[in-house]
Amino acid sequence: MAVLTIAKSIAQAIAEEMERDPSVVVLGEEVAAAGGTYGATSGLLDRFGEARVKDTPISEGIIVGAAVGAAMNGLRPVAEIMGINFAFLAMDMIVNHAAKVHSMFGGQFRCPLVVRTTSGGGRQLGATHSQTVEHLFAHFPGLKVVCPSTPADAKGLLKAAIRTDDPVMFVEQATMYSLRGEVPDDKDFLIPIGKSDVKRRGRHVTVVAYSNMVEISLKAATELAKDGIECEVIDLRSLRPLDLDPVFESFKQTNRAVVVEESWPTYGVGAEVATRLYEECFDYVDAPIQRVAQKEVPLPYAANLERAALPQVADVVRAVKAVL
């Protein structure tokens, strides 16, 4: 096993899949000559050439549009949208086409497409460049939405995403590209999409998170452990399909839960997970489920304001104590 950053593990996953399957192609703004805004496609152009690694105009609609058409007609495109805030310009293609061409035409067409993009705040980029909105895409049946939290998960999940015949939104976190971790070298290292993962065992409180909120939750868990409070931290890994079985199982032991998301709470992941817990585990509830989320404001620029609006380790600690 090698120790890699998430950016490197993504580049490795794509390269291995391109090596394995000649129909895998990469397209997006600055992905070829420049190697990707965050370096996640670095080295691919040299290795696989211009026909398979393509820079595009700044045209989000046609990046995803061409990728959907090509996916229907035999390619397996890995399209990069520079940031999820720009995916709004491709929203129609993603939700009205990628998500629908299989079902709406009675199963005739397939759309083996991966749209990779970057989500999240915390970089002082102001309100339009800092949104955490992957759950919007997870609203749509027909799409899969994957959000890795470690370099190993990024590799295994991305390889699985490239191999699946369904369209996948693969949502990375801008603040996490340099996060390092051990990554299996195995060229067939795959993590099935739609399986949550217990990242830390604990018997007092179930903490549900995904993407960079897993790291924050783990830090909170370490802190709480000093006071003898043991958190079970569960990483959803994909928002659709949403695998809540491990969450229910854990909750039936702990009877208490906190859901941590970087986005706004209204209509969010926490709302969904909490509702499902109330529906499935009502008899086990010992305390109202808590949500840790972003304040309901467009994210401001000033560092202190941004920090005040985004969920922090202390917020998770407070929420866990509140359910105890």
Binding site: G65, G69, M93, N96, Q108, P141, K144
Partner: protein, 318 residues
Amino acid sequence: MDKAEMLELYRQMVLIRLFEEKCEELYQKGKIGGFMHLYIGQEATGVGAVAARQPQDSLITGYRDHGIALAAGMSARTAMAEMLGRVTGCAKGKGGSMHLADINLKFWGGHAIVGAQIALAAGLAWADQFRQTAGCTLCFFGDGATNISYFHEALNLAAVWKLPVVFICENNKYGMWTPVEKVSAVTEIRRKASAYAIPSDSADGMDLLDVRAKTAAALAHCRAGNGPYFLEVHTYRYRGHSMGDQRPYRTQEEIRKWQAEDPIGKFEKVLLDSGIAPAEIDRVDDEVKAIMADAVQFAEASPVPDDSEIWTDIYVEN
């Protein structure tokens, strides 16, 4: 063109016309639901353009798709069953009038978001270019669709990547109830292609042979590796934008003027002038009537999808 081929193209136009007249009737009886957009008046565009394609070429269009579907070779049975929401329809009853498609005919669908098919066409063509299939894509869209971002993004990408796609604008003079000149700064739509250095031509959409010849030339351009081509076809829809459209946005006089140029009547004259006997034409008309009667019977006798079908085809891998 030999006599058999001429009769075949005539047959296709008549089939589209009678198919849609039947659809109108069934819609009014409440047997067809949703939005339905008729192609009546535009038959020569679809039939003429599709006649120029080779088997490896792809077709894609918008929601006004019955004509392209039938010209592509979809049977009237399969198309009618889809209209009626039956399991024997081309999309198992999940698509409806606006979403006809058949992957085996390389007909990649009717798409009901205006202009989306132009973006998808670029992708279809890219895949053919990449896989070196020698296939080109014929992409049909309306005049109104040339004002949407997909149009401009797709033409630009197709030009930059030299994609083998023929963009065919069916300029029927209106987008819903709005005339071209009210919403498009450039009313000679083919000129928009020049912004992306794409060569263009225009065709008389009431003249099947003109559309066919211009499409063939466009395809030859693409197949030789020269990148995309743009064809503006001047045509007219006789019916409203969609079923139930009775709005007074155009004059009866204007409609009559175009109907005097009816593409089917015009082509019938070509057949007669070239020595085909009226009896042969009548035989085709009768044949199409029989096909339509059979198609309606087949569709009505077909089962609706089982309710459990709502859960199928959502994902390839669950």
